[in-house]
Symmetry: C2
Subunit: 452 residues, 2 copies
């Protein structure tokens, strides 16, 4: 937090404690809703949060509410009077209301729905019906649309009359009577046109759209590709049903990256901020993968036990190094490919290009590491252990082979996973490492025993 | 790619090959620059790319140019006549020109600069002087500013006159004669106000700003926190020097996530799309960490060698499993904390909260895994190996201790790294795993030998 913000927060606490509510209201009027929400949650207990919230100017209240954490929202709703709840809900954008409903327990949902108007309720139910990760689930239905025969001046008038309650007013949509999307017109286009121009002559007819059921990750990629501030969402008939705004896309991009990172590290995804996660939820997110990987590691134990009699202690001592090198090499390839899939750089059809590239890279990397490995053993490990040149050669050779194999597996697994509709990030690091561990061990043991 | 886009691409190829250039121009006019750039790069060789580029309508050319990859840009610039280059450069936004210059070899830069006007050159040089990851390096200097005593109508007139060449016209900035930032006014505010209102009565005076030297990652976090479409960049005197737009923030968020993911996997960051990376650059990005980790693994070899005489083959066989469990557990903690730092959920001052949470979680996770481990050994591993209950108990106990230690190290390392201005992501997975590997091995060997 900046010093400046710290000072404002201290001022707020002072006004609140000394009951200087007029000053308090003046101060929050100059603040962003996200900062007010942070202030409440970090400085006030629940009861005082409610008192503070009731002091907020009406036009700010629902914006602040939207920015608070789920548990704060739940507490506030339960404490609200029916009238208060109705005011907050009616001031919220419908997509935010839907997000809220998705997080709340059943009894709270009931209260929320009963405080919405009949038409709002209809839209909410419709939005709730879209699959969790679809464009429909993150869109808002509050956008501005015109018919094509309006003049620019009339269109501006419509924006003035209806724009206050819309999330984005700078990109407007042109539809016919059956809501079919005909074109898009930006306020910039309109400002640069003549007042008497018809919208149909100002609008762009080739519109980049997304479909209601499109994956929200794909939608976010379209934002990063085209740099728009809003994208229209159409149904199968080409009718405009909503828009996705760039702030939602930013959120999706952050969340998806977090999710992928969590999965790569063998953590089940959790959307809550770290400090808000309970110890129990950390346990729930982490134990399953650790258990799975522990059981999977039975393979390595079995392999090592199988070779028990034949592997000398000297050779044993290099097992962790070799498994580490193979695991890390494979991880580099898998994580690179997983990310390339996520940002849309690579598709399944590129699999042969990817394999070729990785094979070539793995040969170079493998040779480099094998040389370093050989040098390290000869110059360093021999200081404290009796190692023959032949042994060093075998270890370096296995290092090379393991790296090539690991990179091959690391780059193919995510692409194959994507193809068969599994999550590429899930097959990444830990699971891939276990496979590569076992493989490199088999390679090592068999070559070592045959040669040394 | 969508089917629809595929069809458009086929049409373009047909028009291009049959020299139906009028149809070609009509088709591209309806397309997004990013899609035209993709078409050129995926379907045409260099010579034809140049021919195609010259066919583009003038108003599209520079937009398409900006969207092409670095090597395409370099080729095109080298092939351009001076006049062509001048046209493209003068139509580009200055921040894009700066990005371009940062990627080009010296001789190309010289040509670019000589084709810019003197005032453009001055701004470019100023922008180039900002540190690589600063807000200054991603901002654009093309924004709309008013003085406070304009009326709304006059302000609209100014937008009409100057807005065509500005990246964002919907957020305008109010400055005094010395360029000091006084406030911000959106086109929405202006549309909803009266034409005769003074800007100073419409503007918001409490403005969220960023400073020129602020880390671009922090800037991106402000976008995701507040949901703006542009943020003003001010210098130390509070003067407005530029703006950062949300599309740049989206790019930063994507890039930073990719970078963190690469670092966590021990890959040196590389901004190029995967398929554009040469085998050599893959080698360069991956070999260094593998070498480092290989050398670091000398510790594990040394430790194992040190206990060589005393550790039975049965105990040896569980080494990979234990190291794997500890490494994975530590990785879960470190990656979670690294991501929490990156998205701004956690700071160094939270370190004790984090440690407490992780210790508690690690005890739960550790107990769970120890129980599963014990069960697995008793029920399964005993089928193919002679293991005493005492041995199974020791292994499970070591599993528990290693997990607690690993999670402690995993959560503290990134926070300490952040504090001493190192990159948290770099100290993550592979390096952390090596430390944890060595530690868990020492714990295992010493306990196992003392007890079994």
């Amino acid at each position: 937090m900046t010093e400046e913000m710290q000072k404002i927060y201290e001022k707020l606490i002072f006004y609140f404690e000394t009951r200087k509510f007029a000053d308090l209201r003046m101060t929050v009027l100059d603040m962003e809703p996200a900062d007010i929400a942070l202030f409440m949650e970090n400085n006030l207990d629940e009861k005082n949060m409610l008192v503070f919230f009731r002091l907020l100017p009406k036009e700010l209240a629902s914006d602040v509410f939207v920015e608070t954490e789920t548990d704060t929202q739940e507490y506030l709703i339960k404490a609200f009077t029916d009238k208060e709840l109705k005011e907050v809900i009616s001031d919220m954008f419908l997509d935010d209301t839907v997000d809220l409903i998705e997080e709340m327990p059943a009894n709270v949902i009931k209260r929320i729905l009963s405080s919405a108007s009949a038409s709002e309720r209809a839209t909410i139910n419709q939005l709730l019906a879209y699959p969790e990760d679809s464009a429909g689930s993150i869109m808002t239905t509050e956008f501005i649309s015109f018919s094509a025969n309006l003049t620019v001046e009339e269109a501006f008038e419509k924006i003035r009359l209806t724009g206050l309650n819309k999330e984005i007013i700078y990109t407007c949509y042109v539809t016919n009577a059956r809501k079919k999307l005909l074109g898009v017109v930006t306020v910039k286009d309109m400002l640069l046109a003549n007042k008497t121009d018809l919208i149909e002559n100002v609008m762009t007819t080739s519109v980049i759209t997304v479909e209601t059921l499109e994956d929200k990750e794909q939608v976010a990629l379209k934002f990063s590709k085209y740099g728009f501030i809003a994208l229209p969402v159409i149904d199968k008939e080409g009718c405009l049903v909503g828009i996705v705004t760039v702030d939602d896309a930013v959120e999706v991009i952050q969340e998806e990256a977090t999710e992928d990172i969590q999965k790569m590290a063998g953590v089940l995804p959790n959307e809550k901020p770290y400090l808000k996660q309970s110890v129990f939820s950390l346990w729930k997110a982490r134990a399953p993968w650790l258990i799975l990987l522990l059981i999977a590691s039975t393979f390595t134990s079995m392999i090592l036990s199988g070779y028990e009699q034949k592997l000398s202690a000297v050779l044993y001592a290099f097992v962790p190094m070799l498994m580490g090198a193979a695991g890390n090499a494979g991880g580099q390839a898998s994580v690179t490919v997983i990310r390339a899939i996520a940002v849309g750089d690579v598709e399944f059809k590129d699999i042969f290009k990817v394999i070729l590239k990785e094979l070539l890279a793995s040969v170079f990397v493998g040779v480099t590491i094998a040389i370093v490995c050989f040098g390290k053993i000869m110059l360093f490990d021999r200081l404290y252990n009796d190692i023959q040149i032949k042994t060093a050669t075998v270890i370096s050779l296995v290092c090379f082979i393991s790296i090539v194999v690991a990179k091959f597996i690391g780059c193919t697994l995510p692409l194959v996973a994507k193809k068969i509709k599994l999550d590429p990030a899930v097959v990444a690091s830990p699971l891939m490492t276990t496979i590569v561990d076992a493989l490199s061990l088999v390679i090592y043991c068999s070559i070592a025993i045959a040669v040394v």
